[in-house]
């Protein structure tokens, strides 16, 4: 589509994105720079006090630390389980690989609230795990498995694991097998070939898998609430609670702290893994 009239095509999506995506974010940032107000959405005075409060208050700092801790654990475990699974998937013949990828893709289409409910049904006091253990005579009183940080980690990790597997499997499947053959022909054993050839060449998939899992962890309010309960709140729960309390400037600041965290960790993952290096750009 060329020519000046082609801009007619561009205007509606552009207007939509500017009015209801970029615009509201700019407005939210503007509100985060204001004092709170009892009667209005936000007060008149310009201030950075909301940000100062978030990054100095020990309560918020505990929550931020817990958020990073949970996210790091989820990333580590999903990478540890996801990489070998992706390798397994990538080594299958095309038809079977497709079926496995579909089996991984399908759960991602099911609403996260349904998948979190599945974990509630497993971990609850009258859930599958407790009833099975009781029927086997291993416990007398049900274990409190739900409403803990561990439950959040297990639930979220498994909910997001398919993203990690699919990202890495797609990179591994597209990888030119001759690199590995060359390494082996030059005398490298399977472990060395993996560590020095396969693993570095798969960093684009690893990086995109990690980014997806991390960014979705930050936003997963419903899963965190259902599995973590009131004692395992993360940063996103603070955003929600503050909005519910109508403290708009504070909520806006918390949202941008969350966004800053997302950008920071994204930058770290990209700097460490340098996925573009593999694609021959830098």
């Amino acid at each position: 589509m060329k020519g000046a009239w082609a801009w007619v095509l561009a205007i509606p999506p552009l207007a939509m994105a500017l009015l209801f995506f970029v615009g509201p974010l700019v407005y939210l940032f503007w509100v985060s720079l204001h004092a709170g107000s009892q009667s209005e959405l936000y007060g008149d005075a310009l201030t950075v006090e909301n940000y100062v409060a978030v990054v100095t208050d020990s309560f918020y700092l505990t929550i931020i630390r817990r958020t990073l801790g949970v996210a790091a654990t989820i990333l580590a475990v999903s990478l540890l389980i996801g990489y070998p699974v992706a390798y397994f998937v990538a080594l299958q013949p095309p038809r079977r690989r497709m079926i496995l990828l579909l089996m991984l893709l399908f759960p991602l289409m099911v609403s996260n609230v349904v998948r979190a409910y599945g974990w509630v049904a497993i971990l609850g006091r009258r859930g599958v795990l407790n009833t099975s253990l009781r029927d086997l005579g291993l416990i007398d009183v049900p274990l409190d498995l739900l409403y803990s940080t561990e439950a959040v980690v297990v639930g979220l990790m498994t909910i997001l694991l398919p993203y990690m597997v699919i990202s890495i499997a797609n990179t591994l499947a597209a990888l030119d097998r001759r690199y590995e053959e060359a390494a082996q022909a030059l005398g490298a054993g399977p472990v060395r070939t993996f560590l020095h050839v396969t693993l570095p060449l798969s960093t684009p998939g690893v990086a995109s898998g990690m980014l997806l899992v991390f960014l979705l962890t930050l936003s997963a309010y419903v899963t965190i609430t259902l599995l973590g309960g009131p004692r395992s709140k993360l940063l996103v729960s603070m955003v929600y609670d503050t909005v519910s309390a109508f403290q708009w400037p504070r909520a806006a600041a918390l949202a941008f702290v969350l966004l800053a965290l997302a950008l920071l960790v994204t930058a770290v993952i990209l700097a460490v893994l340098r996925p573009r290096r593999v694609q021959g750009a830098g």
């Binding site: 589509m1 020519g3 561009a10 509606p12 999506p13 552009l14 939509m16 994105a17 209801f20 995506f21 509201p24 407005y27 939210l28 509100v31 959405l41 389980i81 996801g82 070998p84 699974v85 397994f88 080594l91 497709m98 579909l102 089996m103 893709l105 399908f106 759960p107 289409m109 099911v110 609403s111 996260n112 609230v113 349904v114 998948r115 409910y117 599945g118 509630v120 049904a121 497993i122 599958v128 694991l161 597997v165 699919i166 590995e180 053959e181 082996q184 399977p190 070939t193 396969t198 936003s219 309010y221 419903v222 609430t225 259902l226 955003v239 909005v243 909520a251 806006a252 949202a255 966004l259």
Partner: protein, 268 residues
Amino acid sequence: MTMGTHLLGRTVRGTATVVAFVLIVVPILIVVVTAFSPLDYFEFPPRSLSLRWFVEFFRLENMRNAFTLSLELALLAATLATLLGTMGALFLARRRGWLAGLLQSLFLAPLVFPTIILGVALLLLYKTIGMPVFPGLLIAHCIIGLPYGFRTVLASAQALDPALEEAGQSLGAGPVRTLFLVTLPLIWQGVLSGWLFAFIVSFGELNAALFLTGPGLTTLPIEIFSYLQFQGSQLVIAAASTLQIALIVLMVAFIERIVGIGRLIRAR
């Protein structure tokens, strides 16, 4: 000996795959099986099967309304998102340069942007301008679906041989006729898979809807969430969840029939 035949590597890969599939699939399976339980309380595996919780689901007005609202919302949001995405993709398909790159990033951004922040930002805007609930939700889901409509159409449009469009034009068709008689018939599979993806995403969406639903106007995922949060784990939730899953199964079967399942993987 390649990595593929190395015994240790094979054992690790095989074990991890079994563990991963169990962890991913079992929670979903438990929900579906529980939905057919004849009892008032949770029992797994159930001793017999019944449809009473599905009957209960359609008897509860708020559940029924949430299901209908989610369906309407997903249909409209997917259509709007695909329409806008297709426009953006056709505009950008053959363009290079920083402006094209910027626009492409803008249309794809909602894919990775934390939707919870988008939800907060839109709620604040809606409160300021007094937006009613349904159009507000529709716009939010349209923004969230936009990257799906955009990306699949962009891939199809870029794979298109430009000579075909040029042929149309040199035979005297204007740009609009070329669009409808040449380009769209050639990329309709991309358009349709984009629409289906946007539908599925909207139908299960939680983070924006969490803020934007109102009293009496709730989507199915949010209704399930508030039931779980405030009324405990009643089995009607399992039935609601199973209906959510059933609709997704229907959509996937539809994709398979119309465009072939392979597209789904590539579209991701």
